[in-house]
């Protein structure tokens, strides 16, 4: 283990964590502002720092956007009384918030959020089993919620925990099955031969399920969701579009279910279960669940961007190749964050647009629609690919 690797990894971990926490705080603000605008309200527009309103024009504008609200929100969560009700199972009650928060942060370890800065690849862990690691970690997220529901030792959190476990397990299957067609396409190693020199250097020592390879494939052949955004137009990607787009839709819906967002927020469903699994929590322990939800959204959006929307690439000029200069490296990170934030906007918007599903509708959609469709998608993709390769 050489020291430069350790130092750079530590820097990247700290950087990603800091950026993630900032985005979590500000996506809460975005959620409040967007919901306000959709509902004919104004949202948080009063919080400010002492000197800010005195700045001409920009100061009052920033205050009216609520830019300082996350500071107040965070401070409030830390200052509130951390109350442990007498009837809870203490050890599980203490562990649950951390267990809920950790998986969403760990998922980000394998996401390629940029190309190169100097000689460093912009991802924390360059795993050759990237996608398997992601699904493994994502399925751990359910434990935090189940544990919270069990530890609270009262009926509403318990119901929330039960619902959550059923929901997350059902949608994980559809989620896992939906990405199989993509790896059928990317798994054909011959595509790397057509790539540029920088890409081939970038992909050295990687294999099959590495997430950088899926980014490389999309940069060359077009995004899986939108194949016309490609460096070189090929008939194959248009022929596969119906299948990859179907995979995109299933994955997107499954991400909504996995992150417990409306229209699938049955574990929380305020109108029926008080607050769901976090009913008994207060202060920063509640805050961890809250931040965990938004961190999971960011992780989910990053996964979608990497798998279906071309990762950190754009099909214009040299933006589709790994960076050769520091400026290009920063541009790639900017592209990734831009795509991720656009998806976050979609997720937030959907919450204020669609009503909650009924529990039986949710299970019906998962087991009787998405899982069969995802399986059929795998089968038909395999047949089509076989027909194409055998006709050559």
């Amino acid at each position: 283990m050489d020291t430069t690797f350790l130092i750079f990894s530590a820097v990247k971990i700290v950087g990603v964590f800091a950026v993630l926490m900032t985005f979590v705080a500000y996506s809460v603000l975005a959620e409040r502002k967007i919901s306000a605008w959709i509902q004919d309200r104004v949202g948080p527009n009063r919080t400010s720092l002492p000197f800010v309103p005195k700045i001409p024009i920009i100061g009052p504008w920033l205050v009216s956007l609520g830019i300082f609200q996350p500071i107040a929100d965070g401070l409030k969560l830390f200052m509130k009384e951390d109350f442990t009700p007498g009837h809870v199972r203490k050890v599980y009650f203490w562990i649950a918030p951390a267990v809920a928060m950790a998986p969403s942060i760990m998922t980000l370890a394998v996401i390629p959020f940029g190309s190169l800065m100097g000689a460093q690849k912009m991802l924390i862990a360059d795993l050759n089993v990237g996608i398997l690691y992601t699904f493994g970690i994502v399925s751990l997220a359910v434990y935090g919620i189940v544990l919270a529901g069990y530890a609270a030792n009262s009926k509403y959190p318990f119901l929330g925990g039960i619902r959550s476990s059923a929901q997350m397990i059902s949608y994980e299957i559809a989620m896992g099955l939906s990405v199989v067609p993509l790896f059928m396409l990317v798994g054909d190693d011959s595509f790397t031969g057509k790539l540029s020199k920088t890409w081939q250097d970038f992909l050295a020592d990687t294999s099959g399920l590495n997430l950088s390879r899926i980014v490389a494939y999309q940069a060359e052949h077009g995004w899986f969701a939108l194949p016309f955004l490609a460096k070189t137009q090929t008939g194959l990607s248009y022929m596969m579009w119906p299948f990859t787009f179907l995979a995109f839709v299933i994955f997107l819906v499954a991400v909504f279910a996995e992150t417990n967002r409306l229209p699938f927020d049955l574990p929380e469903s305020e109108t029926e279960l008080v607050g769901g699994y976090h009913t008994e929590y207060s202060s920063m322990r509640f805050g961890l669940f809250f931040m965990g939800e938004y961190a999971a959204m960011i992780a989910g959006c990053s996964m979608i961007v990497t798998l279906f929307l071309g990762g950190w690439t754009l099909p214009f000029g040299s933006l589709s190749d790994p960076a050769s200069s520091l400026g290009m490296g920063i541009a790639h990170i900017g592209i990734f964050i831009g795509k991720m934030l656009a998806l976050m906007g979609v997720m937030i918007w959907v919450r204020w647009m669609l009503p909650r599903f009924r529990y039986d509708q949710l299970m019906d959609l998962g087991w009787r629609r998405f899982i069969p469709v995802a399986l059929a998608n795998i089968l038909i993709t395999a047949i089509v690919l076989w027909a194409i390769t055998s006709s050559k």
């Binding site: 967007i34 306000a36 605008w37 959709i38 004919d40 309200r41 104004v42 918007w349 647009m353």
Partner: protein, 190 residues
């Protein structure tokens, strides 16, 4: 009652028309609020809450206050019906007693020595207004009552009368002596 559920068509079961409708209505409101500056607060009053309070409509049931008649007299006669009917027991009336002060109004028997409403208990149900035989208490337009202590939130008679204002109604006690006199001479007239 069993509500017959309409069978959804295949197109509707894809959820696509619902999503399209959702996008349409949310983006319309989003644009009108963000770019048109149109908000619910501006529609119902001149601005935002703490500075500009909502203009409540007629018939709004806010906090109950005591009212005076058009001659400036206390209308309440201390019958205590409102105290009995009050579901959260927010009203407490101290009657004048046999040797107490006489009523403001000529011919009315008595008025309360003290009349207290605990606004922390009051649920604005309007039973007091409904039960009052004297039209002396009305639910008015105040909906946002604040105080810095519990004691401050118990409104006494003086405060309630000051906040209540005047309610011009039938002054049934005013002409009682004439009516009584007329009744007494009734048999002789026929």
């Amino acid at each position: 009652m069993i509500v017959p559920r309409k069978k959804l068509s295949f197109w509707e079961r894809l959820y696509l028309p619902a999503i399209a409708g959702g996008i349409k209505i949310t983006s319309k409101h989003f644009a009108s609020t963000l770019f048109g500056g149109k908000t619910a607060a501006k529609e119902t009053s001149d601005g935002f809450y703490p500075e500009n309070k909502w203009n409540v409509g007629a018939g709004y049931r806010g906090a109950p206050y005591l009212v005076k008649d058009q001659d400036g007299n206390t209308k309440c006669v201390s019958c205590q019906l409102c105290e009995f009917v009050c579901p959260p027991k927010a009203i407490r009336i101290t009657p004048p007693g046999p040797a107490g002060e006489i009523a403001d109004r000529t011919n009315a028997e008595k008025m309360p020595k003290e009349f207290e409403i605990n606004m922390l208990r009051c649920i604005f149900c309007g039973f007091c207004q409904e039960v009052c035989p004297e039209e002396a208490i009305f639910l008015q337009k105040d909906y946002s009552l604040t105080g810095t202590s519990r004691a401050e939130m118990i409104y006494d008679k003086e405060k309630l009368l000051a906040l209540g204002g005047v309610h011009a109604g039938v002054q049934k006690w005013k002409h009682k002596p004439e009516e009584a006199k007329a009744k007494r001479s009734f048999p002789g007239k026929v």
